[in-house]
Amino acid sequence: MEKKFSGKVWKLPDDVDTDTIIAGRHGVLPTPKDMSVHCLETLRPELASTAKPGDILVAGKNFGCGSSREQAPACIVALGIKCIIAKSFARIFYRNGINNGMFLIESNDLPDNCEEGDIVTVEVNKKVTVNGKEFDIPNIPDNLFEIIKDGGLVNRYRKLNEANK
């Protein structure tokens, strides 16, 4: 994974729940790609069809609250979105996001200092920058960074299992 990358901001509110990210009835579609057409559709109907790979979601507190459905991060990843910056994440979403190879950054201040369409630059384990303002971000523990670097938990274990052959 690149240590520095930039992306265009989609601004989302507090408490975006997993039913909003992907409704239960769409969560049984065959693949995350199929589901991604419905990603965040009740909140931002245009997002799924117009988001570009590399875009960044910027949200308020408690992003991904609700169910354990991993279809939520998986369908966001299927849109090519690999990074979310939020004031806080719901616990299971945080784990699922990392396990799907997503970079999740907690920043209490950045969401209030950027608007839809702004360009955010992320420097892993250092800072995020938007509109000339810099914000510190927490370090991600080594074992979690390994998972993200390998592109998620599946690739991580595949690598380990293949190495053990």
Partner: protein, 418 residues
């Protein structure tokens, strides 16, 4: 220095002699459960990870409850088939099809025992914390890793202590306590944390009430919601109390927050449209028109909940245009409710009694609400669109408020008829 319940159970699981919040540890979960929404995805991820076999098939449980029976012929049958495949191909003998809601079965069948670590592919996994089990939800990719490796990383959580003292007023139940707490600390008030319950009111609660509170503590974002073990816990699980008496909060344990409640001050509570932390006392929502009432779910589908509803509905008829759906949480609850005459009471009152499953709560098997319709349920979550279209409205309450409201067709206070 003392320890919280979460710290004590994680120390026992890992064999670590000391532990502190924020520490990353590798646990070996004692049991792990997969339900039907995730069965195909778990198999897929397991294969992609290049695992050949399940490390401990006896620790794995597969329960089919969300899509029981099939909701949509196009996509759902593969979840059922994948559940059977998990069992046949990997030697997972604990397979339950249509026997009830996974979380209820997990404690009813003794899979989630006091003092153990249990994970499952569902957010409401904290339910078994009512029995002093450290249990938490994980995703299907992690579950595949747990099946293959038998291990799971966890961060030792900080903890919040909730102390409830006194005697609950008539018509006020466990559901009202936890709704009140969620309304106060909000949907993210417990994020990443262990919420641990104590005090005289908590000790007086029966096991089903403890499971109700633990189940719904998740709606405050917690990792797990834990109760101390006592003689009731031991009796429920058929264990010696001496085996589990260590599951007690140390007086000098470190809590990041302590909440105090007086039971006498709590009145019936409702989570209102559209947020589980938009909680109001019943006095502020009385009289709201309802189209449907749902009594059931892993939160409030126990025999005790059925008894509360039957006591209110006995000998009466529900409102003329009301749709009342009642779903016992497991076959055991269903049979007991039949033996005790509750099912007959529900039918005589005009209710529709259905087979044990996740029912209306997950918006899947049936009972979907449409634009403008209002449902009051005893389940745990009222996100927009969860039980139907995004313009349907969801209230959440105790079974007593639900039953009283089914009789009148509007939100009603059970204290007036009890």
């Amino acid at each position: 220095m003392g320890y919280t319940l979460a710290e004590k159970i994680l120390m026992k699981n890992t064999g670590l002699k000391e532990i502190k919040p924020g520490q990353l540890i590798i646990t070996k979960p004692n049991m792990y459960m997969i339900h039907d929404i995730y069965t195909p995805f778990v198999i897929q991820k397991f294969e992609e990870m290049k695992f050949k076999k399940v490390a401990n098939p006896d620790k794995a449980i597969v329960i089919l409850d969300h899509l029981m029976p099939t909701n949509a012929a196009k996509n759902d049958p593969r979840h059922y088939r994948a559940g059977i495949e998990l069992s046949q191909r990997f030697g997972i003998k604990k397979l339950h099809i249509g026997e009830g809601i996974s979380h209820t079965l997990m404690h009813e069948l003794g899979y989630a025992k006091p003092g153990t670590v249990v994970v499952a592919t569902d957010s409401h996994t904290p339910t078994y914390g009512g029995g002093g089990c450290f249990c938490t939800g994980i995703g299907f990719t992690e579950m595949a890793a747990v099946l293959g490796s038998g291990e799971l990383w966890m961060k030792v959580p900080e903890a919040i202590k909730v102390v409830v003292e006194g005697k609950l007023p008539k018509g006020v139940y466990a559901k009202d306590i936890i709704l009140k707490i969620i309304g106060d600390i909000k949907a993210d008030g417990g994020t990443y944390k262990s919420m641990e319950f104590t005090g005289s009111t908590i000790r007086d609660l029966d096991m089903s009430s403890r499971f109700t509170i633990a189940n719904m503590s998740l709606e405050a974002g917690v990792k797990t919601g834990l109760f101390e073990a006592d003689k009731k816990t031991a009796e429920y699980f058929g264990m010696d109390y001496d085996e589990i008496s260590w599951i007690k909060i140390d007086e000098d344990a470190n809590y990041v927050q302590v909440l105090h409640y007086k039971a006498e001050d709590i009145e019936p509570q409702l989570a209102c449209p559209q947020g589980v932390d938009n909680v109001k006392p019943i006095s502020e929502v009385m009289g709201t028109k309802l189209n449907e009432v749902y009594i059931g779910s892993c939160t409030n589908g126990s025999i005790e909940d059925m008894a509360i509803a039957a006591n209110i509905l006995k000998g009466k008829k529900i409102e003329k245009y009301m749709k009342l759906v009642i779903i016992p949480a497991s076959l055991k609850v269903y049979k007991e409710a039949m033996a005790l005459g509750y099912i007959e009471t529900f039918i005589e009152a005009g209710g529709m009694v259905s087979h044990p499953c996740c029912g209306l709560c997950c918006g899947q098997p049936y009972g979907l609400m449409s634009d403008g319709e209002v449902v009051l349920g005893t389940n745990n979550r009222n996100f927009i669109g969860r039980m139907g279209t995004k313009k349907s409205l969801i209230f959440l309450s105790s079974p007593a408020v639900a039953a009283a409201s089914a009789l009148t067709g509007v939100v009603s206070d059970p204290r007036e008829i009890l």
